[in-house]
Assembly symmetry: C2
Homo-oligomer: 138 residues x 2
């Protein structure tokens, strides 16, 4: 019973990831990079590396190559925090802003495709149940 639930979660997550991969590929981004770009774009004021790690729930070391890729692609700039020279601020470039809009649309399409079989009420139900499992307020 619980086992089957677990397998279903795994399956849906797998499909989701695959859908993202296919849609982000043409944008030159992996799902992880797209996710980081989104976090950086939504942040105000600019994020530091540790904060991004927290948001993505990965260790700071694992953030480095992700930001490296975004920086090489010209989407994000690293800036030294004037207030604390140990810290790095992550600033979106104009190209980054444009790409982010495309990422957002790609995400929307992938999620829409996957969850299109559900009615709005069912989606809300699913969202509520998963929120409970995630331990956030439903």
């Amino acid at each position: 019973m619980e086992t089957e639930l677990a397998e279903l979660v795994r399956g849906v997550s797998h499909r989701l990831r695959r859908g993202y991969g296919e849609r982000f590929g043409p944008l030159g981004l992996t799902p992880g990079q797209a996710r980081a770009l989104r976090a950086i774009a939504d942040a105000e004021p600019p994020l530091r590396m540790v904060q991004l790690a927290d948001l993505l729930r990965i260790v700071p070391r694992s953030v480095t190559p992700v930001v490296d890729a975004l920086e090489e692609a010209g989407l994000v700039r690293r800036e030294v925090d004037p207030a604390n020279r140990r810290s790095t601020l992550l600033v979106l470039t104009p190209e980054g802003r444009t790409r982010y809009e495309q990422v957002r649309e790609a995400r929307r399409q992938a999620a829409e495709e996957l969850f299109s079989v559900l009615t709005p009420e069912q989606r809300e139900q699913l969202r509520s149940l998963l929120s409970l499992v995630e331990g956030r307020s439903a």
Copy 2:
């Protein structure tokens, strides 16, 4: 809206995988190996490599290292299919059977821990909704 759903699925799946990893570690298995062991143990008659790949929804090439690990651990034996010498049959050893029982209990515990916040009715609801998304009969 759909985006948030997607993020929730991702988070729950991540927790699930982490829970499995912690519990399978002492058994000397990665989550992927445990999953393959389960498929092999449940199969009757014995699976061939391609069939296992199909069940796990990965390409045959990716099955090879998983089965390598299970065979090195003495849990599974590769046998040439007498009916088709190109094929490899995957046979569980007695140790494999024992380990599989432990894996099953570990899985059960991990899933129970994660979904314990839900009532039985809510679990059934969640299972039903995810089944719809997975495109199987709810």
